[in-house]
């Protein structure tokens, strides 16, 4: 894209910097020693990253977050796509009611289901396990709703042509609907991944074992465990935060092309 107007370009740059500032500042801070930072001097080091990873177990938290968010994304998008296909293409008894219920879940704050979910998992003995972190998050009403709307935009004649060609419903889904819904699926996958990555309250409730902590829990604990009489070791916290945002950034760059297409798609067609 080429900026047509210098004023627009300047404003865009300013807005960009405004949004980038906290991120840039935290990266800047993470690269300095605590002493120098508080003394107002400059002393660059990668020490904070090393400490976060070795001393404060951030490598393990990162792994946990990747496992949990990754599986939630894969399972969640699978469930949402299957549900969306069913809602978009089949009429079945209670289908409308079920779809209404799916949409209704969007109106319920997630914290309301916190205690019931906790009790359920306690009953089946899944607290303090990966399954306990993952299972409650894989049903995503918004993703099912969004994908259903998208699939409804795909001409039904394509399904019918495939059925005539000899396809089963699952073949139609896998060979026709999924390839054509790639932008929407990529958008939703990223959305689910980021939501789960940033999830704080559920991992806090569901696990007590430190080796199952996700990054967000680890990050929060940094405040409590780091020494210094009321002083927080901000450069260390910033190094940990930078570790936390990097995978999300990478994920965004990976699907960005699809994401933009997914958002603009409805306008053209």
């Amino acid at each position: 894209m080429k900026p047509e107007n210098p004023i627009v370009a300047m404003l865009s740059l300013a807005a960009g910097l405004l949004f980038m500032w906290p991120v840039l500042y935290s990266v800047w801070m993470s690269l300095q020693t605590a002493d120098a930072f508080y003394a107002g001097k400059l002393a660059f080091t990668l020490d904070n990253y090393e400490r976060a990873i070795t001393q404060f177990n951030f490598a393990r938290y990162l792994l946990n977050s990747l496992i949990v968010s990754g599986l939630v994304t894969v399972l969640g998008i699978t469930v949402a796509t299957l549900a969306a296909f069913a809602f978009a293409r089949f009429t079945f008894r209670g289908g409308d009611l079920l779809f209404g219920a799916t949409v209704a879940t969007l109106m319920i704050p997630s914290h309301i289901s916190l205690i019931p979910n906790y009790l359920t998992l306690a009953k089946v003995g899944l607290l303090d396990t990966y399954a306990g972190l993952i299972l409650p998050a894989i049903s995503n009403g918004f993703a099912a709703f969004f994908l259903r709307q998208y699939i409804r935009g795909i001409p039904k004649a394509l399904d019918e042509a495939a059925y005539m060609d000899g396809a089963s419903p699952l073949t139609v889904l896998w060979r026709i609907i999924v390839p054509l819904s790639k932008p929407a699926i990529a958008s939703m996958a990223l959305y689910i991944f980021i939501t789960e990555w940033n999830n704080y309250i559920w991992p806090l409730v569901a696990v007590g074992r430190q080796d199952l902590y996700t990054l967000q829990i680890g990050l929060a604990r940094l405040y409590k465990i780091n020494p210094g009489e009321g002083l927080v070791d901000w450069p260390l916290v910033m190094a940990a935060s930078t570790i936390t945002i990097l995978p999300v950034l990478a994920g965004f760059l990976l699907v960005e092309r699809h994401l933009v297409r997914g958002i603009t798609m409805g306008a053209v067609k």
Binding site: A157, A162, D165
Partner: protein, 353 residues
């Protein structure tokens, strides 16, 4: 090759009107059947029932002697060409053509060879690696045909396959489809609202209106002996003229009839002829090529007549139109059904004033 038999088919969509009322037809193996009618007459629904994309509410569908009501589309040995082609946009032309073969477990080398073969027949070879989005309307139409042909099925269903093409291409493709039918020898059921397509392609034509089968017969029979007013008016270009039989000068036949006069049985005269004729005033003339289409007002109402261009002069405003009553059709005013009149009942006494 397989025949198709439809017996007392009834279909209504939930919450909608009944789309098909008790339709029964028998298609012989290898026949080219055209189902024709105005939009909303149920012709596409009928095709979808044969395809298995819809289920009938009542009645029996038999394909190749086997009851097919509960067979899934993929088990019917039928290929279908959709009005909007329904090509898979993410697959190349080759993949589009070969998809059905792949789903039926044909090895890759063989299905590629088959796709190549079909593409050669349809002159699609240069486009095999292209996606449908990069093809013209005519090429897409051909790919849709190729996809159906690749599978070598005994029956093809075509749902207005030419309606998205421009006129020249439509005429060319019409010939190709006819030629293809001759080559493949398959049963073809073809739905259209275009009466020219119906008459030119079909071995037999089924005319439908409001979910009822009006007539099912050879094109020449449908044209010459239409079952009712609707069939007579729907088929034939330019359309047939209807006038009250009583208004024809000297009519002494039955009362309560409408005469159907196709433009080709009307003849123009500059002077009053010796035969029975209507005096008419030329209102509008349209050139169609070598012929003129003349719209005239007469005592019996508006009549459309075709005449060779050289026979009509621009100045001719006052005309006489004679008619050949032996070739006229007669319809009951109340039921609209065609009435077979014995010759003497359509007699006209020529009363010269």
């Amino acid at each position: 090759m397989s025949g198709i038999s439809l017996r007392n088919i009834r279909k209504a969509y939930p919450g909608g009107p009944t789309v098909l009322h008790d339709v029964s037809m028998e298609f012989h193996p290898g026949e080219f059947i055209v189902i024709v009618g105005p939009s909303g007459c149920g012709k596409s629904t009928l095709l979808r029932l044969i395809a298995g994309l819809e289920r009938p509410d009542a009645g029996e569908i038999e394909i190749a002697g086997i009851r097919a009501n509960d067979l899934a589309p993929q088990d019917r040995d039928i290929a279908m060409i959709f009005q909007n082609y329904a090509l898979y946009p993410h697959m190349s032309v080759r993949e589009n053509i070969a998809f059905g073969l792949e789903l039926r477990g044909m090895p890759k080398a063989e299905r590629n060879r088959r796709a190549q073969e079909v593409a050669r027949m349809l002159q699609l070879e240069p486009y095999l690696e292209r996606k449908p989005g990069a093809l013209s309307g005519g090429q897409r139409q051909r790919v849709a045909m190729g996809r159906a042909m690749a599978r070598n099925t005994s029956t093809f269903l075509m749902d207005e396959p030419l309606s998205n093409l421009d006129n020249a291409l439509r005429i060319a493709m019409r010939t190709e489809i006819k030629e293809l039918h001759r080559q493949l020898g398959a049963t073809i059921v073809y739905v259209t609202h275009d009466q020219t397509e119906a008459l030119s392609l079909a071995d037999r034509v089924a005319v439908m209106k409001d979910g009822h089968l009006q007539q099912f017969d050879r094109p020449d029979v449908i044209y010459d002996r239409p079952a009712n007013r609707f069939v007579a008016s729907f088929l034939g270009v330019p359309p047939i003229n209807f006038v009250a039989a009583e208004k024809l000068p000297g009519w002494q036949g039955m009362q309560g009839l409408t005469a159907g006069l196709r433009p080709d049985i009307l003849k123009l005269h500059a002077q009053r002829p010796a035969r029975p004729s209507l005096e008419a005033r030329l209102v509008l003339s349209e050139m169609t090529g070598s012929d003129l289409l003349l719209h005239c007002d007469s005592a019996a109402g508006r009549l459309t007549v075709t005449a060779p261009r050289r026979e009509v002069t621009e100045q001719a405003r006052q005309l006489w139109i004679s008619y050949d009553l032996d070739r006229a059709l007669f319809f009951d005013n109340d039921s609209g059904e065609r009435v077979d009149l014995a010759r003497d009942l359509r007699s006209i006494s020529i009363v010269e004033e």
